[in-house]
Each structure stands twice: as structure tokens, then as C-alpha cells.
């Protein structure tokens, strides 16, 4: 089997080493870089991210990477956004006012509700392991990055905001927090976003990274 090369975009946020190690564990050759040429010449591109939406978009802009990521998507190179990287795929966020995103998947980023559906106070951020379920309009996980996963598999989430595609068909999997359906995996064509951290979700997450590396 050909060794896929995966490029992790380094725009100065988060624990990139774990993402790198996760892909290396799956047999990929990994580059961590902000160089546009390296990103554009890669087989697979990952947008990691922990932190705030606005400052992340600003960093991408300063590094000249917004157009580069859009070009990656346009060429059909598989693109994976993790956590904040998933939220950046949408058109904009309500975090600290309205900030435009990459706009690769129509939709918006909203705060996780501060109360459960029955009105009790809900702890924010949502930290911990939650089970993945197919979204209401999901056509099933076959052929998606969840191809090798089972309904109910639990993944590790840490987030205060959630990414809502405007077309429910772009929602692949949800988790439930405080009774709310929270988008966990979204996708459109060769673009996928995971709200949870596959690199921190044990074997469940490694299956997703492995799938991303397959042709």
C-alpha cells in the first residue's frame, strides 16, 4: 500500500504533536507546516485547532492560508477539520461577535446552550466522551470517515461552540449533550469536520484517521 502523506496546517494553536502521532500511528508520513506550496502539494490536509474562532481566522489570514485551504478544497484534496478546525469550515461564527469563516460548508457556529432541554444548568465547555449517532438526515456512515465505526462509539469532546451546517444533509453524526443534538461529524464531498478529537479518542478515533489516509 502506498504511504499517504498528510499535512497538518501549523497556524500556531493547540497540541499538534498528538495529531501528528495519531496519523503516524496509522502509517502516514506527516508534515506540520504553514508553507502554502507544501500544503498544496499534499495528498491530505488537516486543519487542527484549539482556541478562539476569530484569532484562528486572523492567523490563517496573516499566513496567507485562507485562499490556500479553499484551493485544497476546490481541487478535491481530502480535507479534515478537527474541533475548531471543523468550525472554521463554515461561513461564520457567533463567538465574540460575528466573524467570517472559510465558507467551505454552508452554516454557522453557535454557542453550546447553557441549559439542558429540561432547563437545568449545563456545564460549559462540554468536556468528555460522548457517543456518536447518525444524524437525522444522514444517509448512513458508509463511505464517510465513520465507515469503520459503529453507532454508539464514544469520542472525546472539548468545546463551547458547535458547528451547524444549514443543510442537514451535511450532518453525518451527532452526539447528545444536555438533551441537545450537537453536530459531531459534518461533511460535504471531500471535506469533513470532526467536533471531537479523533487523535484523543482511542481506537475509535484512530479508525477515523486511518480512513482519512485511505485512497
Amino acid at each position: 500500500m502506498r504511504v499517504p502523506d498528510v499535512t497538518i496546517i501549523d497556524y500556531g494553536v493547540g497540541n499538534l504533536l498528538s495529531v501528528q502521532r495519531g496519523f503516524e500511528h496509522c502509517g502516514a508520513t506527516v508534515r506540520v507546516t504553514a508553507d502554502p506550496y507544501e500544503i498544496l502539494s499534499s495528498d491530505r490536509v488537516v486543519i487542527p485547532g484549539v482556541g478562539a474562532f476569530g484569532s484562528a481566522m486572523q492567523s490563517l489570514a496573516v499566513l496567507g492560508l485562507i485562499e490556500v485551504i479553499c484551493e485544497v478544497a476546490q481541487r478535491g484534496t481530502p480535507l479534515l477539520g478537527i474541533c475548531l478546525g471543523m468550525q472554521l469550515l463554515l461561513e461564520g461564527s457567533e463567538e465574540f461577535g460575528n466573524t467570517p469563516g472559510l465558507g467551505l460548508i454552508p452554516g454557522r457556529v453557535k454557542p453550546v446552550p447553557a441549559r439542558t432541554v429540561s432547563g437545568e444548568i449545563l456545564k460549559i465547555p462540554h468536556i468528555g466522551w460522548s457517543s456518536l449517532q447518525p444524524s437525522t438526515f444522514s444517509a448512513g456512515w458508509s463511505g464517510t470517515l465513520l465507515h469503520d465505526n459503529k453507532i454508539g462509539d464514544a469520542a472525546y469532546f472539548v468545546h463551547s461552540f458547535m458547528a451547524f451546517p444549514s443543510d442537514p444533509v451535511d450532518r453525518i453524526a451527532d452526539c447528545v449533550y444536555g438533551g441537545h443534538q450537537v453536530p459531531a461529524v459534518i461533511g460535504r464531498e471531500t471535506i469533513t469536520g470532526c467536533q471531537f478529537h479523533p487523535e484523543k479518542s482511542g481506537e475509535v478515533g484512530l479508525k477515523i484517521l486511518r480512513r482519512f489516509c485511505l485512497d
Partner: protein, 256 residues
């Protein structure tokens, strides 16, 4: 609500995994990453690495241990002990840690909590609190692994810590630590009632029933355990099964 997290805590001295009683009388157990890998494979939800002597000497040996763990352990790792600055936190996070736990340096300079939280997000900033009961229902904050008293009241301190940007509180009872007598439920309940961020109960877990009690009566969001696992008295899987039987929400985990 989130599932209750089952966290394996590894206390480190130099290159070794160690364990004490009341945070004292430290005994060498073995190689930290051998144990860490075992707990990962048993289905631990997270790991906490705590360098027990770091604040005494102003240094932290954990970078190498964490870097090596990150090769084959794919669950969240919190690292504490001797973190005094944003730069220390940066180095630990670059080594593969997801969160940093700060105790002594935060007491000395509370602004550190805000600095780390601002730079990396509050989900990265765990306030580690060592608590000792001074009179009934009244706990004092200790630092330097239970060696130094601070005069601070635990409840006042955690409330201040959360306002300054702590995203989680790791609450260790010095009285119960290493005793296997169960958690200080009154302490956990008193803290949980006052703050909106998750509370990790630590110190005293001797059997699965202790976990059930501290969740049901103390409202803990997560439980950190050490010698119950180190001495192989229970596996993470057995503890998870017991919690589930008691009706506590835990992560769905299928062993490979």
C-alpha cells in the same frame, strides 16, 4: 450531562512512577509509561501526570515522559507539577499534553491562571487544589505536594480560580490521599456546589463503591485514581462496569 470520566493519575518523581500516603512517604512503583499504556488499553478516559517534587526544585521532568507516551497513547493527558509560566505550559503542551494543571505557582501568582487560559483557552487550564480539612466543613489550600499551608480557604480559592479562567478543578484531599478510605465527599460536594466548571475528585478511592458515592453524593464530574489501579486491585474495566451497573453514565467502551 457528560459521562463521568475515569482518570488514571500517575505521580512522578524523576523517571519513576511513585505513590505515597497523604502525599508523603513516596514509594517507587515502576516505569510511568508502562502503567500509562496499561490504563489506556484498559479504557481509561484520561491520564493525569503529576511531577510530585517539581515545585520543590523548580523543574519539571515530564516533557520526555509525555513525548514518549504520545507515540502510542491516544487519550487526553493533563500534566502538572512545577509549571510556573506560560512558557512552561507551552513546552508541556508541545510535548503532547492537552491540559496543564497548576497549583503552587497559581497560589503564588493567581494571574498565571488568566495568562494560561487566555493563551490556550480555559479548557487547557486545570486548577489543581490540595485540600486539608482544618475544622469540620472547612478546608485549607496546601501547596508543594501537601507540604506548605497557604491560609487560603478552599471554596474561596476555587471560586477565584474559576473567575480567573480555570476550566476544571482537580481537587485532591490530602486527608484521604493514599488511604483507600473513600473520597472526602463533603469537600467535593462543597466545591461542586460553588463552581460551574467540572470537578475531578481525587484521593482515597479504595473500591468502586467510593466512586459511586462521590458522584452521587459529591456531584463529581470525574474521578482520578491511582493506587487502586497501580496495585492491580481493580482494572479500569471493572470500575467502569461497576459504575454502569450503579446507573452512572460512563463512556461506552469496547475493549479491543
Amino acid at each position: 450531562m457528560s459521562n463521568i470520566r475515569l482518570i488514571a493519575r500517575l505521580d512522578i518523581k524523576g523517571p519513576n512512577l511513585i505513590k505515597g500516603i497523604h502525599l508523603e512517604g513516596l514509594r517507587v512503583i515502576g516505569s510511568p509509561n508502562e502503567y500509562a499504556l496499561r490504563y489506556y488499553q484498559q479504557g481509561a478516559d484520561e491520564l493525569i501526570y503529576m511531577d510530585c517534587v517539581a515545585s520543590l526544585y523548580g523543574r519539571n521532568h515530564l516533557g520526555d515522559i509525555i513525548r514518549s507516551a504520545a507515540k502510542d497513547i491516544f487519550i487526553p493527558m493533563t500534566v502538572g507539577g512545577g509549571i510556573r509560566s506560560v512558557e512552561d505550559a507551552t513546552n508541556i503542551l508541545r510535548s503532547g499534553a492537552d491540559k496543564v494543571a497548576v497549583n503552587t505557582a497559581a497560589v503564588a501568582r493567581p494571574e498565571l491562571i488568566s495568562e494560561i487560559s487566555y493563551r490556550f483557552g480555559r479548557q487547557c487550564m486545570v486548577l489543581s487544589v490540595e485540600a486539608k480539612e482544618v475544622t469540620v466543613g472547612n478546608w485549607e489550600v496546601y501547596t508543594d505536594n501537601g507540604r506548605e499551608r497557604t491560609g487560603l480557604n478552599v471554596i474561596d480559592w476555587v471560586k477565584r480560580g474559576v473567575v480567573m479562567g480555570a476550566g476544571e478543578v482537580l481537587l485532591t484531599s490530602i486527608d484521604r490521599e493514599g488511604t483507600r478510605k473513600g473520597f472526602d465527599i463533603a469537600l467535593v460536594r462543597a466545591v461542586s456546589a460553588e463552581i460551574s466548571v467540572p470537578v475531578i475528585a481525587c484521593g482515597g478511592m479504595g473500591k468502586p463503591d467510593d466512586l459511586i458515592d462521590v458522584v452521587n453524593m459529591g456531584y463529581a464530574d470525574a474521578v482520578a485514581m491511582a493506587d487502586i489501579l497501580h496495585y492491580n486491585r481493580y482494572t479500569v474495566g471493572e470500575i467502569r462496569a461497576a459504575a454502569k451497573t450503579a446507573g452512572i453514565g460512563v463512556r461506552y467502551y469496547e475493549s479491543a
